[in-house]
């Protein structure tokens, strides 16, 4: 509203009307007490102004057919804007707001070219995890040149604080949070634990070089 842009008188404490020193050496100040004006204390003028505001919103939202946020999201022609009301509600399951590109959603584990799990069970992510929600039990890998792989890889989504440190810590681009999904509702706490299989089901193949590019990546490039 326009009231926000009107200059507000800067005051620091009550306005001092008179000041004198008593015989005892004390300073006595008379201050002006702020009382509402007569117009405000009857509530009529301010009330009528308030009715104007609410009535404007009510009428606009009642009679204009296009719902604000949803309509503005797909409004191409500026001529359409006159039919858009101010309702900001997004009707969630049917309509969703688009998340930012770096939104951290449910975890997923990435795959190698041959479809095996990319994780090498280096234990970086459970080490860095501030919520201690990642459980990895390693086992020996049968792939050539790879020492370990996770036998169990579990993330308790109820404990996860969605900080993304596991993704930062991972040297193999094996764990990501770029699914764009929320942790869904569960009826049992155990159901909120993401297993290796469920995270692999969401997995994609990573083209990153296993083990990183190494210290000489500039010259190799």
């Amino acid at each position: 509203m326009s009231a926000a842009h009107e200059p507000v008188e800067e005051t620091s404490g009550p306005k001092i009307v008179a000041e004198h020193t008593t015989s005892a050496g004390k300073t006595v100040r008379s201050v002006q007490v702020m009382r509402p004006s007569a117009a405000d204390s009857t509530f009529l003028a301010a009330g009528a102004k308030g009715f104007g505001v609410t009535l404007k919103h009510f009428a606009k939202n009642l009679f204009l057919p296009l719902r604000g946020k949803a309509a503005r999201a797909k409004a191409g022609a500026p001529g359409d804007l006159s039919w858009i009301n101010e309702i900001e509600t997004v009707q969630y399951p049917e309509e969703k707001v688009t998340y930012p590109e770096r939104f951290r959603g449910l975890h997923r584990l990435t795959l190698r070219d041959d479809g095996a799990v990319r994780c090498v069970a280096c234990m970086c992510c459970p080490t860095v995890c501030p919520a201690h929600c990642i459980t990895i039990i390693p086992e020996e890998s049968d792939s050539k040149g790879i020492e370990k792989r996770p036998a169990v890889f579990e993330i308790d989504e109820l404990r996860c604080v969605v900080c993304g440190l596991c993704v930062e810590a991972c040297p193999c681009d094996a764990i990501r949070m770029d699914t764009g999904l929320h942790a869904g509702p569960v009826e049992d706490r155990g159901d909120a634990i993401e297993t290796k299989d469920s995270m692999l089901n969401r997995g994609i193949k990573s083209i990153a070089k296993q083990g990183g590019a190494g210290p000489n990546w500039r010259s190799e490039k």
Binding site: T54, H57, I87, T89
Partner: protein, 500 residues
């Protein structure tokens, strides 16, 4: 709830004047209440009745003279009570004999009868007060109050750029969420009826009923439609209808009495006991605080609420809402003229009454007794349908306040420029309408005015911030009370100087 309804019906039957179908009320006659004097053609006189006479009531003047000439009994005559009977506010009206009935003289046992509007036909059953009350409550009040529970949430959402509840549905039928009130009712009925330890069980159970019953009873005084004459519904109402056309009239007001609106003040005040008793019986400090706040608020605002209507009483010369609607403010204008409704004659009274009445409903900005941010209020210990009854009583009060303001200030069931025989536009002509259509339009007008005023009350509730307790008392005692007293004096002066 069944016991409550039966109790209400009994009270209604007891307090309604015309409950007995066989009652024919004898009245005194003559200018001084003495025996009917000899009547001659063209005679005029006054009949003083022991019951209120309404426009259209059938008044039978019996002289006791049994002389029959040419097969006609000239002694008996039935006249239609003119509007004057209720305009003046006294139970007295003027009659005139006409030549049609010949010349006759009265004998010593002359009496005048005001025929009760209850007759022995099916229309008499329709005119039965309890039936009219059931119609009013079940067809107008309860659906409107239930819809208000949805409308309040939806309207507040619209005012705050939200959508509000719009999901309750039966299969594909959504109706913009109107079914939410059904879902709410089902939820409240099936919820656990929890009674905390240490409550006073009897009073705890009684309090919701005390809160809701007076509001439903108070609806008795509201004239929610015009008097319907079943025999002329398909015809245009003649200027001078005869006895047969006016027979079996159904008056759309359950309880009409001289003290009309005083009855409403008296009865609605009882509803406050519901909140106070609930607060005390709950054995909860917050609830008790809410009950006490409720009492103090009611006491403060009842005063100015009653006084704010005194101006209207002075202008109209009556306390009877039916008479206020039927006659309007001035006798020189038609009651169907919007300029003759009291909003124009009593603007200050309207603002004062509406303010005090909103305070009476205990809703924001006057929701100190409920005080959701701090004490939850007198019903903090209530759950399920017991709480639902408090909730419903609040919304029924909203409807009732809208009905009272409509009746007193906005012409009740009057449609602008619609007389009994059709639309009259001064200087432009007359569009005749059958009586049935006129009555339907007037019913619709009453409903529409009530709905609009309910809407306005929701606007008030969602626009104004709540008062602090001290601001509430300041407004009640230091602003509303002196203003209403001054307004009474001003109205009395105007009445004395210009309308005497």
């Amino acid at each position: 709830m069944n016991k409550l309804v039966i109790l209400l019906c009994l009270i209604l039957a007891a307090c309604s004047g015309g409950g007995d179908p066989a009652s024919v009320k004898a009245v005194d006659c003559g200018p001084n209440g003495d025996k009917l004097p000899a009547l001659n053609v063209g005679d005029t006189g006054f009949v003083r009745s022991s019951v209120v006479v309404h426009p259209g009531d059938l008044v039978k003047i019996t002289t006791g003279d049994t002389a029959v000439e040419g097969g006609h009994n000239y002694a008996d005559k039935t006249v239609k009570a003119p509007a004057l009977a209720v305009t003046s506010g006294i139970k007295c009206f003027k009659f005139e004999t006409t030549g049609e009935y010949g010349v006759h003289t009265a004998t010593d046992n002359a009496t005048v009868y005001v025929r009760s509007s209850i007759s022995e036909t099916i229309f008499g059953i329709l005119d039965f007060p309890a039936l009219k009350w059931a119609f009013l409550v079940l067809v107008l009040v309860m659906p409107l109050a239930s819809l208000l529970t949805w409308a309040e949430r939806r309207q507040s959402a619209m005012m705050q750029d939200r959508l509000g509840p719009n999901r309750a549905n039966i299969g594909p039928i959504k109706l913009k969420g109107i079914l939410h009130f059904v879902a709410d009712a089902l939820k409240m009925i099936f919820k656990e009826d929890f009674i905390p330890a240490n409550v006073h069980k009897g009073l705890f159970a009684l309090a919701p009923l005390i809160a809701i019953a007076p509001v439903l009873i108070a609806f008795c005084i509201i004239p929610f439609g015009p008097t319907v004459y079943p025999h002329v519904v398909t015809q245009v109402m003649p200027v001078t209808p005869d006895q047969a056309q006016l027979a079996d009239s159904i008056r759309m007001q359950i309880f009409s009495s001289d003290f009309g609106l005083i009855f409403y003040f008296a009865v609605l005040t009882l509803a406050n006991y519901g909140g106070t008793i609930a607060g005390w019986a709950s054995y909860n400090k917050w609830a008790l605080l809410g009950g006490l706040r409720s009492s103090s608020q009611m006491m403060s605002y009842e005063v100015s609420m009653g006084l704010s209507l005194v101006g209207a009483f002075l202008i109209c010369g009556t306390l009877e809402p039916g008479a206020i609607v039927a006659n309007g403010a001035s006798e020189t204008m038609s009651a169907a003229n919007p300029l003759n409704w009291l909003w124009l004659w009593q603007p200050v009274g309207l603002v004062l009454f509406f303010t005090a009445a909103i305070a009476e409903t205990k809703r924001a900005p006057f929701d100190i007794p409920e005080g959701e941010p701090e004490i939850i209020g007198y019903f903090v210990e209530y759950s399920g349908m017991r709480w639902g009854i408090f909730f419903l009583a609040e919304f029924i009060e909203v409807v009732f306040i809208a009905a009272v303001v409509t009746t007193v200030f906005f012409g009740g069931w009057q449609v602008p420029f619609l007389e009994a025989d059709g639309f009259h536009f001064s200087g432009l002509g007359w569009a005749p309408l059958p009586h049935g259509i006129v009555a339907l339009l007037q019913f619709a007008a009453f409903g529409l005015k009530v709905v609009l005023l309910c809407w306005f009350q929701l606007m008030v509730r969602w626009t104004l911030p709540r008062f602090r307790a001290d601001q509430l008392m300041n407004l009640g005692w230091k602003i509303l009370l002196p203003t209403s007293l001054a307004w009474i004096m001003f109205t009395a002066l105007i009445k004395l100087i210009f309308m005497a």
